[in-house]
Each structure stands twice: as C-alpha cells, then as structure tokens.
C-alpha cells in the first residue's frame, strides 16, 4: 500500500534506502546516509552489513547515532576494530561494496566539497573537512550520495575538491589511476540521478512524486540533463514510512537527553 502524505525529506531517505541490498557491506556517513542505511536494514535488507568509520562492523542501532561513534553503534556491532584498522584493512583493503556519503556542495560530475565555502586560505565558511570521505570515494567499490537540492549546494564549480567523483567527466577516474566505480547514484529530496555511462554527467533518471523538471532545475546551478526515459519514483509504502517515522521518533527522544534526573 502506498502512503499519501509524506515530506520530500522522507521521500529522499526512503528512495536512498531502496538502493541498498541485503548483501551490501556499506560504509555509512553520518546524517542522511545513516538514516537511509538503517531504514534499509529495518525493511528489505535485514542482513546488510553497516560499517561506521569509528570502527564498528555489522552494527544495528536502535536509534540513529548523533555522532559517528555513539555507544549505540558499538553496543550493537558484530565487532569493533581500531580506526587505523578500519581505514587500512577494511576500506583500503577493498572490503566495502558501497560508500554512502552526504555533501555540502556537489558538481555535475559528482565531485564533492565538504572543506570550505570561498577561498581556502580566507574562507567565507570553514566547513568540517573531508574526514573519511576522500578515501571512501576512491576505495569503496562504488559510492552513493544523498543530499537536499539547493542552488547553494548544486554548484557550477566547487569551491574546493574534497572528494573526487568523476572529475571532469568521461574516463577521468581511470586516468587518475582509480580502479573503483565512484559515484553511481545520487538521491535528493526531489529526484534520483545517475551518471551518464559515457560522459559521467549526472542525469535525472527519476522524479519523486509531485516534482517537476522545472522545480529540479530551479534548485541546480547548471543546466540539468534529464533522461530520455524519465521515471517517477514510487511513493513510500506505508511500511517504509512507518519504519522511518518510528526511527526518527526514537532518535529524537534519545537525543533530547538521556540523563535520568535523580533527587
């Protein structure tokens, strides 16, 4: 059964969750990727292996972590390894099938900026930085990206290249000596995008219910390419929506404060 009322954010999280499979070994970024990965685990992919860069392997949190290293992740993990081991053996070693990332800025070839807005040495806004993303982007077998669309986020030219997507397009990844696929999917609050097989330019392949091409273009700084075979994303099912809302409610309650007041 299909749900009638849902928000664009809910559609984004649910569409992103559908991209994951039961056999994936997924390196999970904090924020929207974490929500999507856990909805997948709680719906169609109960055996998915979720890995967070804090070293937790095979984790199954009951609430979404506020940080990448919340105790909930360790408590529910199959095992927890050091951060050194995580990056060396598990990520660099090629064990990750999907790296799931968010971003502050993205360009048409799915390169990502999470470092600065403005000039590096004299930034307008100093963002947190790359964290694990530069190597998640090159060492995961492929990467998915999820973020909301806005002109500020979907830019003609990045202020800084934190994580390499498809570079200038075409075979740029291969020319850089990178053997992994890179970004193969972008899920936003309005649409699903995939890189063109040849040019690698992000192309809208599916519009979420109620969204128009015009609305997509209004939130992107470059001239958007739409697939000749443009689809409509199936609306969330009642089950997907209820799982997502229950997860969000548990998370909000947990983050509001876990302190037990004592007399």
């Amino acid at each position: 059964m299909t749900a009638q009322d849902f928000t664009p954010d809910e559609m984004m999280a649910i569409a992103a969750s559908r991209a994951l499979s039961n056999t994936d070994v997924c390196f999970v970024g904090i924020g929207p990727p974490s929500a999507a990965c856990n909805i997948a685990r709680l719906t169609h992919a109960p055996d998915i292996t979720l890995i967070y860069e804090s070293g937790t392997i095979g984790t199954a949190p009951d609430v979404l972590p506020l940080s990448i290293g919340d105790g909930e992740l360790c408590d529910t993990a199959l095992t927890t390894v050091s951060v050194t081991e995580m990056f060396r053996y598990w990520l660099q070693g090629g064990k990750i099938t999907v790296g799931f990332l968010g971003a502050a800025q993205i360009d048409r070839f799915a390169n990502i900026n999470t470092t600065v807005v403005g000039d590096y040495d004299n930034p307008k806004v100093r963002l947190p930085g790359g964290g694990g993303a530069p190597e998640i982007s090159s060492s995961s077998q492929e990467t998915y990206i999820t973020m909301k669309q806005s002109k500020r986020g979907f830019v003609e030219k990045l202020d800084f290249y934190t994580s390499f997507g498809h570079g200038e397009g075409g075979d740029h990844r291969t020319r850089m000596g990178i053997t992994t696929k890179g970004p193969t999917l972008l899920i936003t609050d309005l649409a699903i995008w995939k890189p063109d097989p040849v040019t690698k330019e992000l192309t809208v392949v599916s519009l979420h219910p109620g969204t128009t091409k015009e609305r997509v273009q209004q939130t992107v700084s470059w001239a958007v390419r739409f697939s000749d075979d443009l689809q409509e994303t199936p609306a969330p099912t009642e089950e997907e929506l209820s799982v997502l809302r229950a997860l969000k409610a548990r998370t909000a309650a947990a983050h509001a404060g876990n302190r037990v007041e004592t007399a």
Partner: protein, 284 residues
C-alpha cells in the same frame, strides 16, 4: 613507567608551552578533563593534533592556547560546525592559527606509523582531492615493486598524548574497550602520555585479547571519574548528547563562550566531572 599523579601535577610535569600534543578519542573516551586542566594552566603555543577535533579543541582554540591545528574533521558531529575554530580561521579571533589538514585515512596511518617508529606513512589515498594543493605535507611516492603511485604523510610523534581510558590496575596497566579509536597508537607514538581513567582497580578482569597499554608505555595515570564527559565511557556512562547540542549557541558568541569557560572550566577542578555524569551512568 606509569606514575600515579593528580591531573594537575601530571599536566605540569609533562606539557610545556610550544609542545605538540594529541588529545585523542573518537567520539568515545574524549579526554575532556585533561584538556580543561591544560586550559586552567594556560599552557600555550601548542600544536594540537586530532582526527576529529570537537568541543575540547573549540575550547583550547577559543582560549587562544593553540598555534597550529593538525586535523581531518573539525565539527560537532550531528550538530554543526565548531564556532570557535571557525572564528579563529575566518576572523583571527582570538588569534590566527595555522592549519594542516588531512583525511581520516591519512591521520590514522600517520598515528600507526608513529607507533611503529617510522618517519612516514604510505597508503592509497588523496586521489584526485585538492588537499595536497594546500598541504605540503602530502606527498606522492611510487611503490618500489609495482610502481603504483601512493600517498605519503609524515608520521605523528607527539610530545605528549592525552587519552581517557576505562580503568587501570594498581601497577598502571590501562584498559580501553569499546570504540578504541587511535588511542593506543597515539600513546605508543608519543614521547610522554597522560592517561585519565574512570577508576583504579585491583584486577583489570578482562579477556585475553583486550586492548591493554602496559604500565611501562604510560607516563602518568590520573584517576578522574567522569573525565570524558560529555563524551562517554563504555559501561560507565552514556554520551551526553544534549550537552553537545547545547554547546553550539554557547560557542557561537564570544562573550558567552568566555563566561562559560570562566564558570565551568577556569573556576573548577577535575573533581567536578564525577558530578557531571550523575544520571548518565550505565546500569550493569
């Protein structure tokens, strides 16, 4: 050889103005009490290293004690940006700091190389990123056997490493459990190390492959109950997420930040941390 000291005496003994210090902890076991002691003692001109600088680096930088920051992700995870770090980088308040920016993979490898006594770390990374344009400490090196181009960064060898751990026995052997981060590597890479612990016990009572720092790898052990708060200690108390969320508006305003530091850090001692975890304790 581990010496049991008060936190105040340990910081006075081992950390000097101008030193390079790593306060490690990956969300879990962040050495808040130790950083606050450094702030109280006003030890300045520090080069501070951390994969994930969060509130304590916001505080050290906001108090003007830092000359240079080496890092890979500077944020208040799930909440936002670090306001004091931003104010320093964007506006030079209270002073400008030098930054050396890496990725997590690079710093994790650099800590391991430091622990292994190597001058540099070699790994597959920084491919196509712009970080090597702005950080001269990121170099390329070719594998002598296959010719593959790899990344190289200097190893991390801090003067002093600060970590918080769960417990130490009376000899000073230290146990870390849960998310262990890069703390073992940081201690083994450092010249001196100061370890705050939740408690000192007769027996560590653990399993045979546990993450243990033998007493002869640690300089000083300081018992500070709650010393990671608002971070957490596995099996002792949970992460105080509300305090992380509440930090954002405090750090957003220079005067409010200074008043908060005066009241909650400068006028306090390590003993206040035991009170701060009341109600957050994990029941076994």
């Amino acid at each position: 050889m581990a010496e049991f000291l008060s936190l105040k005496d340990a910081v006075t003994k081992y950390l000097k103005s101008g030193d390079t210090a790593a306060f490690e902890g990956f969300t879990h076991l962040i050495p808040h009490a130790a950083a606050h002691e450094v702030i109280r003692q006003g030890i300045d001109e520090l080069t501070v290293i951390r994969m994930t600088p969060d509130l304590i680096y916001d505080q050290l930088i906001g108090m003007g004690l830092v000359r240079k920051l080496i890092f890979s992700y500077a944020g208040n995870p799930g909440v936002g940006l670090l306001r004091r770090v931003r104010d320093s980088i964007e506006n030079g308040w209270p002073r400008s700091i030098e930054i050396e920016e890496h990725s997590h993979a690079a710093l994790a490898n650099a800590y391991e190389a430091g622990a292994a006594g190597l001058p540099c770390a070699v790994f597959r990374g920084y491919m196509g990123t712009e970080l090597q344009r702005v950080n001269p400490n990121i170099k390329k090196i070719n594998c002598p056997f296959t010719g593959e181009e790899l990344a190289a960064v200097p190893s991390i060898r801090p003067d002093v490493a600060f970590i918080h751990a769960l417990k130490a026995d009376r000899k000073g052997n230290v146990l870390i459990e849960g998310i262990v981060g890069v703390q073992k590597e940081a201690v083994l890479a450092a010249t001196h190390s100061i370890v705050t612990v939740e408690e000192v016990v007769d027996e560590l009572d653990t399993h045979i492959n546990a993450c243990i720092l033998p007493h002869w790898t640690v300089s000083a052990i300081c018992e500070v109950r709650g010393g990671a708060h608002p971070s957490y200690a596995q099996g002792y108390y949970g992460r105080d997420n509300k305090t992380y969320i509440d930090w954002d508006p405090i750090a957003a305003d220079r005067e409010r930040f200074q008043a908060w530091m005066e009241e909650h850090v400068l006028k306090q001692g390590p003993e206040v941390f035991a009170d701060r975890i009341k109600g957050l304790e994990v029941t076994p």
